[in-house]
Symmetry: C2
Subunit: 346 residues, 2 copies
């Protein structure tokens, strides 16, 4: 099985995508891996496995690596005797944030007919934008945390009582997120969030709330991970999140009763199927008074949430064998011919 690990991208999360890709090298060592890096100028590079170290990228040494061209059917390496296709069974999209999660990579892979693991375009749009995630969850009957939406051009007034958590609408990995405890701190929190996005959401911050994470995918059956109760500081900031993206050791299943376990799994399934077919996602849920609230969908979770799966290799393999296929549309020009014929031109 030859897997192309696609990472980097023009994204605020470019650097942690590198960390995720390095983790994939460790986790997927039984597979043949090709590392495809997208730099900040959106050039594609084929990275030698030995060079999969963060320093190689931060020192810009990667610029000496072979460039790849994306064309119909795959990635191509230019050589003296023309262009050769890079042999891949599938591309694993591990670009966090823009490019990877906003639907661009899904679009490119679908357009150029390359098998890939990633949320498809619709799933990307609805999960990359936290506001649309709320619409989606509500339409599926999954409860969400209360929120209000503020655009950069709106008056800077909020109705949610303090403390609140402020998030840019379109970013992951806690970038631009802050907890605001009093009115005095509001301006600063809004400034930070608006630095990254025109739109932000404000939610009540609930101290000590119970959080549970569930990852998984669907093939011809459900392939679900354990349910984890993540350790929390006040909240995970960008540095601490590094742990998430480099994690490769197993964690313990949360100590919860069957009823809660079932509720979490059911909510995950409701969100996932059929929108997220073809991808491995992680959903973060809150539990308040026995009720499940969707906090966030991580459409491309740090290190693919490998640490939550009993056998991540097997899960991935099964998913690769059950990827959704784009519908073939055959174009026969019947319509144009009939118009021509009606006009007496045929």
């Amino acid at each position: 099985m030859s897997i192309g690990i696609l990472f980097g991208g023009s994204s605020y999360e470019h650097e942690i995508s590198i960390v995720s890709a390095i983790t994939m090298k460790k986790v997927l060592k039984k597979n043949e891996l090709e590392f495809i890096f997208i730099d900040s100028d959106r050039e594609f590079y084929l990275i030698d496995s030995d060079n999969m170290k963060s320093k190689y990228f931060s020192s810009l040494k990667y610029k000496k690596a072979k460039k790849l061209n994306l064309k119909y059917g795959g990635f191509f390496i230019s050589g003296i005797f023309g262009s050769n296709i890079l042999n891949l069974d599938v591309v694993l999209n591990i670009i966090h944030g823009r490019d990877g999660e906003d639907g661009k990579i899904a679009s490119l892979m679908e357009f150029y007919n390359i098998p890939f693991i990633s949320p498809r375009i619709e799933a990307s749009t609805l999960s990359y934008n936290k506001l649309y995630t709320k619409f989606l969850a509500k339409s599926l009957g999954v409860k969400v945390v209360d929120y209000e939406h503020l655009n950069k051009s709106d008056k800077r007034e909020i109705k949610t009582p303090f403390p609140v958590i402020i998030k840019p609408v379109r970013l992951g990995s806690s970038i631009g997120v802050s907890i605001v405890k009093t009115k005095d701190e509001l301006e600063y929190g809004l400034d930070i969030a608006f630095e990254f996005d025109e739109d932000i959401i404000i939610e009540p911050f609930i101290e000590g709330i119970k959080e549970y994470n569930q990852a998984g995918c669907k093939t011809d059956r459900w392939e679900l991970s354990i349910v984890e109760e993540p350790e929390k500081d006040e909240f995970l900031d960008f540095d601490k999140k590094y742990m998430d993206f480099s994690r490769d050791s197993k964690v313990l299943s949360a100590d919860i009763d069957d009823e809660l376990f079932d509720k979490i799994q059911d909510s995950f399934k409701t969100i996932y199927d059929p929108l997220f077919l073809g991808s491995i996602i992680r959903c973060d849920f809150f539990v308040v008074d026995g009720e499940i609230l969707l906090n966030e969908i991580n459409p491309i979770p740090g290190s693919m949430a490998n640490y939550l799966f009993e056998d991540f290799d097997l899960t991935l393999k099964r998913l690769i064998d059950h990827l959704p296929q784009e519908k073939k549309i055959s174009i026969d020009y019947k319509y144009i011919n009939s118009i021509q014929s009606a006009k007496g031109k045929a």
Copy 2:
């Protein structure tokens, strides 16, 4: 002003996109135009203006045209002395249906940093899928026609009283749409719609309903078309729709009072701003008891709805001067360097 007319695509609406592009040749004759055709295999071809006739495509003669490569910064023509960029100020996406309206072209243009007129990715997802359009409109306080959603795997029972109109969720141009007057005809109508999509919506069919179309865009001001009351047969089928895609003569403004006119324009503005910035769209509204209901958003309307604008050339020019810019993200590897440094490896 050099405009690249991008048309064709792997879409059920491939052929009417050709008709739209031929109309653009007539309508935009004052501009320098380049015609970029995407065939059903998603190869790009540069089409000579003289060959912009439907027969050229239906006879597959286009396959002898020059191929283009899409790369960072533009479309490239391969020649004996290397590769030359096709000079364009902007690309006008006129691919109806899949590829053009589902976010793929928007993704490709954004990824490769090519200025383009088209709904962006989020706008594409929310308008290409009629179900998501309902969510969007409702979240903005714009009323919609009642509906129910049926997936292919659902039981074939509907609650909406007859007559109903059945539509595939993801198609335009009335493809797969049928009006079902009695229960006997239901199976057939569902079969037709499910042939084109896994998801369909069912709406009450209201005989003789008043319909009004509004097209436009926003630059540093609103650039709105007249309001048209389209002539209707029972409904517009695919053949009759041909008219829409080849229209290039002006129509008259609907004979409505100021209050209704304002309501229609307000609803359009609410839908458009800011999601659809960078595109010219047409919204089709119904009026029931003086109330405006959004029927459909046409994210890439037939012939760009040019016939609705007083001065389409000027509208387009102004839009080109006010296209939204993708935010530049600079990647400085500070984060990786700080991790390296913390690990004592820097």
